[in-house]
Amino acid sequence: MTLISHKIALDVMSIRRDFPILEVKMRNNKDLVYLDSAATSQKPNSVLQAEARFYEQVNSGVHRGAHYLAELATDQYETARAKVANFVGAKPEQLVITKNATESLNLLAYAFATQNSSLLLKPGDEILVTEMEHHANLVPWQQVAEKTGAKLRWIPITPAGELDLSNISELINKKTKVISFTHMSNVLGTITPVAQIASLAKSVGAKVFLDACQSVPHMSVDFATLNVDAIVFSAHKMLGPLGVGMLVATEELLDEMPPFLTGGSMIEMVSMDKSTFAKAPKKFEAGTPNAAGIVATAAAVDYLNKIGMNNIQAHEEHLTEYLLAGLAQMPGVQVFAPNLIERGSPVSFAVAGVHPHDVGQVLDDDGIAIRVGHHCAWPLMKKLNVTATSRVSTYLYNEQSEIDAFLTSLERVRSFFGVK
């Protein structure tokens, strides 16, 4: 089945050899077709080796010890920070290392709900999100609203799954203090109009935060020109290890934010009844940091840079186009997709008469891993009038032939459950 002919920009065959998990056999000895990278990406050997090498060669207490190992470990930690910051067009001092994007968002949200913070919201203030946020960028703001009496509002979405900006000049108003929204929907692949929202936000003096979990791994993102106050993302979705998240923010914002987790390494002076705190980013990095994790993240950045973010994006665009064309020919399949030319790789769909869990199960039987469920975007599901969707998401290691395998298996879903 070849719907579109296209010169693939990447040498996917050789990329695949760098990812050991792609050789693993699934149920019934089937080959793995991994189409769930929006949940978490697979890791190349170089990332696994970077993590192991840290432990084998320099492991020790970062920023605390004065001995040779501690010196090497600290150096690797800060060099990695600089590399990851640079990857998204930020300065090292602007990058706070957390455990995942969820922690990064909670760290941001905390600043607006804690006493003694100059950012503390008050009743009447407004927080704006969108109807297609991941729970990680919704629930923390609900908590802020509940604690401060601020009002949580949201930009609705159109039936096609784009942001509905028809009422935006009312939604973004003088009471708006925070606007936090996704750069790319993890369910629909929608890319949001950041520039437009950011400039409206700035005009009313609101802080703007971008959930870049799905964009940073798949396209070139430049914090310096985005005109937002902060972005968050997770290493594990961009070929990096689990247990590493990023908060990139302007120095002004970081200075203004109170510490979140407190303890060792984030202090300046401590006595029994009082402490003072270090400057950002250390102020936000309490406790022993996951140094091996950030070093491995830097190796992931090296890998992405070597391939080139533009090439990766072009490759995914091709796969997505090919996938959408295939799904369009499939009877009884409804695709939830924005009418956008520039879009991301997550594609959600429904098979009439078959529950997503059952769709996923048949695909799984053929070795094909997709995600079924609400994708941590329950309100979006309600808006789409479904309880769940099936989602395919690709990355640099996916081949066109895997989309073919997926489409063939999808036909089996329909025949297995006897739907026409």
Binding site: R27, N28, H355, P356, H357, D358, Q361, V362, D365, V372, G373, H374, W378, M381, T387, A388, F416, F417
Partner: protein, 146 residues
């Protein structure tokens, strides 16, 4: 083939023709359960006899996958008309089978078509689907018997 052992014909039949579906007015207690990973839901009502010893009816409304729908249908068949003591036995037998990773053959005299769910027990991510209605029943019957 594993897929057929998961989706046994009996299960697909219960899924296509759900027994006892629909909420009925006579009941003493209701339970609402959600599967937080996929958003599937069930509302289930328990209607007991006056002595609170016999389950006269189980009525339910649900959305969900084939496994969760079929398991609600089987539950209805097995539990309608039995005593609460009997229900406990049936529940425990079914529950133990679902937790056994497919290793425990269950007693068909107790759980009837429920034995067909042994294949589901081999798929940890689907066990919750097969238990959703049963958890709702346990909850509703427990409340109704108070």
């Amino acid at each position: 083939m594993q897929l057929q052992s998961l989706y046994q014909e009996v299960i697909l039949d219960h899924y296509r023709n759900q027994r006892g579906k629909g909420l009925r007015g006579d009941y003493q207690a209701e339970s609402h359960q959600v599967n937080p990973t996929c958003g599937d839901e069930i509302t289930l009502r328990a209607h007991l006899a006056e002595d609170k010893k016999t389950i006269l009816d189980i009525s339910y409304e649900s959305t969900g996958c084939s496994i969760s729908q079929a398991s609600a249908s089987v539950l209805f068949e097995q539990v309608k008309g039995v005593s609460i003591a009997e229900f406990e036995k049936i529940f425990n037998e079914y529950h133990a089978m679902m937790q056994s990773q497919g290793k425990l053959e269950a007693n068909e005299d107790l759980i009837g078509d429920g034995v067909a769910f042994i294949g589901v027990a081999q798929y940890p991510a689907r066990v919750k689907c097969a238990l959703l209605a049963w958890m709702a029943a346990k909850d509703a019957i427990g409340k109704a018997a108070l």
